[in-house]
Subunit: 111 residues, 2 copies
C-alpha cells in the first residue's frame, strides 16, 4: 500500500472500470469537449483551443486523458489531429454507468 495511490487491486473489475470512466468525466473541460464532439461530430485540437478557456497545452492534456480511457480517438491529418467520439468506448462507458444506476431504489426511508 502506497499512500496517495488508489488501492484498485482490491476492487472488482467492474468497480474499477466504472470509476475509471467516471474519473475521466470528472472535469468540466472534458464534458465540454465531449459535448462539442457530439455536436460537431469531429474537430481538431485547435478548434477546441479556440472554444475552451484553456491553454493549448491544457487542452492537449485533457484530450490525452479522454483518449487514454477510450472515450475519444484521434487521427493524424498532416500537422493536425482530428478527434471524434470513439463509439465503442462511448457505448461501453454508457453501459458501465447505466449499470450502476440500474439498481432499483428502496421505497423505504433511510433508517
Amino acid at each position: 500500500m502506497i499512500m496517495g495511490l488508489t488501492k484498485t487491486e482490491h476492487f472488482s473489475k467492474n468497480q474499477n472500470q466504472v470509476a475509471a470512466y467516471a474519473k475521466a468525466l470528472g472535469h468540466p473541460a472534458r464534458i465540454a469537449i465531449l459535448e462539442y464532439l457530439l455536436q460537431k461530430k469531429a474537430c481538431i485540437c485547435g478548434d477546441l483551443v479556440d472554444e475552451l478557456p484553456l491553454a493549448q497545452a491544457t487542452v492537449s492534456q485533457h484530450l490525452k486523458e479522454l483518449k487514454a480511457v477510450g472515450l475519444i480517438k484521434g487521427e493524424i491529418e498532416g500537422t493536425s489531429v482530428c478527434y471524434c467520439i470513439n463509439e465503442k468506448g462511448w457505448e461501453e462507458a454508457k453501459d458501465f454507468l447505466l449499470g450502476l444506476f440500474a439498481s432499483p431504489l428502496s421505497d423505504k426511508s433511510c433508517c
Copy 2:
C-alpha cells in the same frame, strides 16, 4: 486563475454539475459503497469498514465526499450513523449523466 484549481467559472452550470457527479464516482471505493447501499438499502459506517479494504478514517472520508455531492445521506443513531442512498440526488445524478450520453452518435467515421 490559480494553478491547480479547476477553472469552473468558465463552464456552464450543466457541465460543472455533470463533472461534479462524475468526479464523486471516480473512485472504486465509492462505487463499492454505493453498490453496497443499493443492495442493503442502508448501513452504518462500521459495516463499510468491515466490507472495504480501507481504514475507518478513509471510509469516513469517502462517505463525506458522497454525502457532500448529494448521492447519499446519513442519519445519526446513537453513536452510529446510518447511511443510505439519497434518492433525490441519486436521480439527479442519473439525469445529468444520462443527459450527456443521450446525444445520438454520428454514423460517420472519424475524419
